[in-house]
């Protein structure tokens, strides 16, 4: 195996032009797929942050005292998907309403009592499922003693969830298609390289090489090509990211949203995947060259 790696490494350096073309192809492929991944990741972050903005309001009965209220808060905080619970008294809500309607406060002048009940404003954690979990959560909250009614933006939520699910599904299909297309391109590029070396493979066969002697260095070369291409593609993406994102932030286009680069685990997965693609490309191509 050590000899195979040594020969594979020597050949990798020996055919600079051929391997350069292959590395560029893989680099561009990795660039495209990781750029798409970068977009998806940040779009997902954006969706998450929107989801965190969703509020479920639990209105309390007038009889609910502070001790009972604290018990309700503790119960709600223990439910999964709950990011936080804030108490909003009826008076605070009334003041907020007056501030919201601004110059039209005259509308409220006829009221002798504050009609707004005390309420608990429940914010959600980003990982909660939309339409499936929020109604369940609302039902559980309705069942608590001291909770009069529960409200949330059901229609908005359903629409948001529809968009989010469509986005996720489309992303997965697109990633699958791009990956398949890239796999074919890389496999064919490696096949072209092997065609260029077909005479060398034939000669090596004629002097007595068995399949293993020919295959293993080529597999190693495929893995090296994948590694070099993967690193080059990610470096290219990082350079593009570093060059554009600060400019967009400076121009005020990313005020409400922090764009981040791919996390290390994903970078590692991309590099390992491109190495795997290099190996698979070799594996698929070599079989037909071992007939000689």
């Amino acid at each position: 195996m050590r000899d195979a790696i040594r020969r594979g490494f020597a050949d990798f350096l020996n055919y600079k032009a051929l391997h350069g073309i292959c590395v560029i192809t893989i680099a561009l492929a990795v660039f495209v797929i990781s750029a798409f991944g970068l977009f998806l990741q940040n779009a997902n972050d954006l969706m998450r942050s929107w989801k965190e903005e969703i509020r479920v309001i639990a209105y309390l009965t007038p009889e609910t005292g502070p001790a009972e209220r604290e018990g309700i808060i503790a119960d709600i905080e223990s439910y999964s998907g709950v990011g936080g619970v804030a108490y909003v008294s009826g008076d605070e809500a009334f003041e907020w309403l007056k501030a919201e309607i601004g110059s039209q406060t005259a509308l409220l002048e006829g009221l002798t009592d504050n009609p707004l009940p005390d309420a608990l404003e429940v914010s959600l954690s980003g990982d909660i499922d939309g339409t499936a979990s929020i109604p369940d959560l609302a039902d559980k909250m309705s069942g608590l003693k001291g909770v009069d009614d529960v409200e949330y933006a059901r229609q908005w939520l359903e629409r948001f969830d529809g968009i989010y699910n469509l986005f996720r599904l489309t992303s997965m299909v697109l990633i699958g298609l791009i990956f398949a297309a890239i796999m074919m391109i890389v496999a064919n590029t490696i096949r072209l390289i092997l065609y260029q070396r077909i005479e060398e493979i034939k000669i090596t066969r004629v002097i007595g090489a068995d399949d293993t002697f020919i295959k293993y260095p080529l597999y190693f070369e495929g893995i090296m090509l994948g590694l070099a291409g993967g690193l080059a593609g990610l470096l290219l993406l990082y350079a593009a990211f570093s060059a554009t994102v600060p400019q967009l932030s400076a121009a005020g286009l990313l005020v409400y949203f922090q764009v981040r680069f791919l996390p290390w685990p994903l970078v590692l997965i991309l590099i390992l995947s491109s190495m795997a693609v290099g190996w698979i490309g070799c594996y698929l191509s070599i079989r037909r060259f071992l007939k000689f």
Partner: protein
Amino acid sequence: MRKMLFDPERTIIRLYEVSKHFGDTDALVDVSFDVCRNAFFFISGPSGAGKSTLMKLLYLGERMSSGYAIVDGMNLSRIKHGQVPMLRRRLGIVFQDYRLIPGKSVFDNVGLVLEVAGMSSRKTIRERVMSVLEKVGMADRHDAFPPTLSGGEQQRVALARAMVGNPSIILADEPTASLDIEAAERIFDLLVAAHEEGATVVITTHDRYLLSKGCTGRAYLKNGRCVATEPHPEGMDI
């Protein structure tokens, strides 16, 4: 040809009614002859007679359509895919067009044979390769690449590659066809030297100059048939 008793001590190659067809074309028809161990053997005949096809059958570059052939104890009609490399490691093959790997140096082209054979000691490989390159007069060009060499030099490297594994048989397919007389003479002398060191040498050629040299045996092919054999097992005159 009447089927003779096969003595592996004496006979290193036996062909018996070997035929090769490419579609409707008969490249070889019922070719039979023996090559004795340590022979210096010519396969001659005009262009298109089937000499190169016969050579390919001997190293299993092609499979025969019918008949049987034994090469250094291996029955080529029954040999499995996985055994082909073992057969080829017993052979040293020289081609008319040299067939060196252009992207590898002279040293690496020759050393590859030893690596293929499983030798891993870089020191031993170096010693063996340099020794054989000395013999063919190419030691000083060991780090050159084949495209930078003349035809005669490339053929000497090819011959070094054929000899480095100490094969029992050297198959040389028109080894001097692309060379001038001086280079051809040198290649022929090297083949004689390999024979003197114990190898059986089988040369296909239609070169009258080469054929005028002595040999221990000869087969003459015409239109894919072996029309004459001339064994001289007792001695050689070269």
